[in-house]
């Protein structure tokens, strides 16, 4: 059962991923990305990583993709116009490189590999996956957890700084660069 499910989910994942990068319409791409994330969440569940599966749905498929869609809508983007020799060349090279990477990875792994040590039962602790993760997060992973908070803070601040409306320092978009001989900033601003 599980393998069948896995194959199905994997197929959805691969196909939707492909469509993300193939489809001309960014909105469609985004929706396929949501699909891909959801199928990934399914795979996580199959791998008995319930917590991660849930978070995947909530954070990724939910929050992140909503943000994407919001931006796409906000920018009111239509179909990507993709034509011309340069793009064709780039596309060809891109696909070839992607194939090369996969083949190389496969060849490398085909040489026989091993994973690290197995800690029997480590993944199925008493009290369930989520509780165990919670405990770990606040004990062993306290330090990265704290860093994460800073990361989020920075992202927040950064997003606001960059995307906030026209502040005093933002010239009217898409204003051409002022002429070279523009007057120097007012003296009091130069301190």
């Amino acid at each position: 059962m599980i393998p069948v499910l896995f194959v199905a989910l994997a197929a959805i994942l691969v196909v939707s991923s492909l469509l993300v990068i193939l489809h001309r319409n960014p909105v469609t791409s985004a929706l396929f990305l949501v699909l891909a994330f959801c199928s990934l969440a399914g795979i996580y569940l199959l791998l008995r990583a319930e917590f991660i599966g849930m978070v995947q749905v909530i954070v990724y498929a939910g929050a992140i993709m909503v943000l994407f869609l919001f931006v796409i809508m906000y920018l009111n983007l239509g179909h990507d116009v993709e034509g011309g020799v340069a793009i064709a060349v780039r596309r060809g090279v891109g696909w070839v490189l992607g194939a090369v990477l996969v083949v190389e990875g496969a060849l490398l792994l085909g040489r026989g590999w091993a994973t690290g040590p197995v800690t029997p039962g480590g993944a199925t602790p008493p009290g369930g996956n989520t509780q165990a993760i919670g405990l770990l997060l606040y004990s062993r992973y306290l330090f990265p957890f704290e860093i994460t908070s800073m990361v989020l803070l920075v992202a927040m601040v950064g997003a606001i700084v960059i995307a906030r409306g026209r502040g005093p320092s933002a010239p009217a978009p898409p204003a051409p660069a002022p002429p070279a001989g523009a007057p120097a900033p007012a003296p009091e601003e130069r301190a």
Binding site: R90, V93, G94, L97, V100, L101, E104, G105, L107, L108
Partner: protein, 636 residues
């Protein structure tokens, strides 16, 4: 202390004073300083020679080491002076003739703006020349050797505003340098194998160090002789001397007739020990000398510039001296050197007097009939001409006869014959000069006629003095005395040490007389023909000239030797130099250097093309990088 150093120091002091006091000296002061220093040097030299003569014959060597010049490892060179009979003769000739010419110059250069500079150079020359003759080692000799070359350069180019003079000065220096190249190599060889450059020590050691006729000594002797050919204007390096006539005439007299050009002869004579160890070299000296004597004489036949005729005659006479040395008659060579100094200086000074009188006219074709209008000059010139033609009892006869006798005696019949023929030609062209200048109708330009005047006493007095010497100077070499003549005996201590000295065969008295007759006859024939051609039937000259037009042109153009040298050496070198610079240096060597820079800039420009500004490109290269790294590990 023998005080030998004072002799060269005197003119040097004059140079220094001249430089220090500058124009404050005034003309008279300059003249007094210059002549006085040389006169004093002469006096000191006479005293020194007198002292030398006091010594027993086999100890007649005065040496004095003033200071060590340089001492590096086993190499030492001193400021050391040596007075032996040979250098005594030279010192006396140099200071004596030099003094006369200094006196003469006070008159001759009387109106020149650079009066002071002239005497500065002249005194400097005296210093160098005296250093040359009094040096007790090769290196100090070389100092004088190059020093006289320098002064020669400066004095030839004295009238520097004349391009020809400047050119001639440079030519003289460069050709001399070629000779010096040989001299240097000779010195190196001698030191490398002989271990010293000191004359006495080297000559004493030479027979033990250098195997007779061995390659080393042959090389050394030949190399030294190359130096001599440069300084003494022998084939193939004689070309500078005729051009050197661009200098003021007293200079020609002093440097390019009496003293400097004989330095080569002196050097060969000084090194007779070495040359006698190298028969091949000695033979070369003889052959080159004979060839030059004959060759230069033929050129002298067709020259119209009075000084150039004299210059070629100098070359020719120097050839005689080398001829003497080459056949082992070193004493005869020195003898001729001395007499030649007298009569050739006289000839030049006389010519100078003529030129002076004719307002700087030097072309024989525009002279003539001056005999009675410049009586003193004429008389003295005639004496000198007779002397060079080898007519007894004038000085030249004795010395030239001795050379020819020496050549004959040593079995060099070819050399002897060349000498005789040369004597005929010499007599002919010298009298051609005499006739064209002093006899026959006047061909003077109106201008020259107008200013014509006999020279001032300061010029005439040296002429007279030299005329006296040109007559009597040879008498110390009166032949057929037991044990050699006076000069021979005087020089004997120097020359008898050599390996070849003993081998010199004595001539039977009859042969000697016969040779003498031949020699005199040669001179007379030349004179008579000259009179016949140029005075009695002036048309003959033109007739001959048209008849042998090709030969005449050949001689007039000096066998085109200058042109040959120019085409064979000067031009190829200049072309090579230009090619080195324009092509090799700029294109290849520097081109490579700049090419490296250009290559880098080209690569830079290409690399910049990759930096397209597109994120896609950057990601592409990123991915290619990753793929390449993976590939690297796949391969291993």
């Amino acid at each position: 202390m023998t005080g030998l150093w004072i002799i060269p120091a005197l003119p040097l002091a004059a140079v220094a004073l001249n430089l220090l006091l500058g124009d404050r000296l005034g003309r008279r002061g300059v003249a007094w300083l210059a002549c006085g220093s040389v006169g004093l040097a002469f006096a000191v030299a006479v005293r020194a020679v007198f002292n030398l003569a006091q010594l027993p014959a086999d100890q007649r060597v005065l040496t004095e080491t003033v200071a060590t010049w340089m001492r590096v490892g086993d190499f030492t060179a001193d400021f050391g002076f040596l007075l032996d009979p040979l250098s005594a003769v030279m010192a006396l000739v140099v200071t004596g003739v030099g003094f006369l010419i200094h006196v003469y110059s006070t008159g001759y250069m009387g109106h020149d703006a650079s009066y002071r500079r002239f005497f500065l150079y002249l005194n400097l020359f005296m210093f160098a020349m005296l250093t040359l003759v009094l040096a007790d080692n090769f290196l100090l000799l070389f100092v004088g050797w190059e020093g006289v070359g320098l002064c020669s350069y400066l004095l030839i180019g004295f009238w520097y505003q004349r391009p020809a003079a400047a050119e001639a000065g440079k030519k003289a220096f460069v050709v001399n340098r070629i000779g010096d190249f040989g001299f240097l190599l000779g010195m190196f060889t001698l030191f490398a194998f002989g271990g010293t450059l000191n004359f006495e020590r080297l000559f004493a050691a030479a027979p033990h160090v250098f195997p007779y006729a061995g390659p080393v000594i042959t090389f050394a002797a030949l190399a030294l002789f190359v130096g001599a050919t440069g300084k003494s204007a022998q084939i193939p390096l004689y070309v500078w001397l005729p051009d050197a006539m661009e200098g003021p005439t007293p200079v020609s007299a002093l440097i390019h007739a009496a003293t400097m050009v004989t330095a080569g002869v002196y050097m060969v004579a000084r090194c007779h020990v070495l040359f006698q160890l190298a028969p091949v070299a000695l033979e070369t000296v003889a052959v080159i000398g004979a060839a030059t004597a004959l060759f230069a004489a033929t050129i002298g036949l067709a020259q119209n510039d009075i000084k150039r005729v004299l210059a070629y005659s100098t070359v020719s006479q120097l050839g005689y001296m080398f001829m003497a040395c080459g056949v082992g008659a070193f004493g005869a060579g020195i003898f001729h050197l001395m007499t030649h100094a007298f009569f050739k200086a006289l000839l030049f000074l006389g010519a100078g007097s003529v030129i002076h009188a004719l307002s700087d006219e030097q072309d024989l074709r525009r002279m003539g009939g001056l005999a009675w209008r410049l009586p003193w000059t004429h008389a003295t010139m005639l004496i000198a001409t007779l002397a060079i033609a080898g007519i007894p009892p004038f000085a030249g006869f004795f010395s030239k006869d001795e050379i020819l006798a020496g050549a004959f005696a040593s079995g060099h019949r070819g050399v002897w014959l060349a000498g005789v023929v040369g004597a005929v030609i010499t007599a002919f062209y010298m009298f051609r000069l005499y006739i064209l200048c002093f006899r026959g109708p006047s061909r003077l330009s109106h201008e020259a006629e107008h200013h014509l005047h006999e020279s001032p006493p300061s010029m005439i007095a040296p002429l007279v003095a030299l005329a006296g010497l040109a007559i009597a100077g040879g008498w110390i070499g009166l032949p057929m005395q037991p044990g050699g003549h006076l000069l021979e005996r005087w020089l004997a201590p120097v020359f008898e040490g050599g390996a070849g000295a003993a081998a010199r065969p004595a001539l039977a008295r009859g042969t000697e007389i016969a040779l003498m007759v031949i020699s005199v006859a040669a001179g007379l024939i030349g004179i008579l023909v000259a009179f016949r051609v140029y005075l009695d039937r002036p048309t003959t000259a033109t007739a001959l000239a048209t008849r042998f037009a090709g030969l005449r042109r050949l001689l007039e153009h000096k066998y085109w030797i200058d042109e040959v040298y120019d085409a064979a050496i000067v031009r190829p070198f200049a072309a090579l130099a230009g090619w080195f610079w324009r092509f090799w240096d700029e294109k290849i060597v520097d081109g490579t250097v700049n090419g490296v820079a250009t290559t880098f800039e080209g690569v830079s420009a290409v690399l910049r093309l990759f930096q397209t500004g597109f994120v896609g490109t950057y990601a592409l290269f990123f991915t290619i990088g990753v793929a390449a790294l993976l590939l690297h590990f796949l391969r291993h």
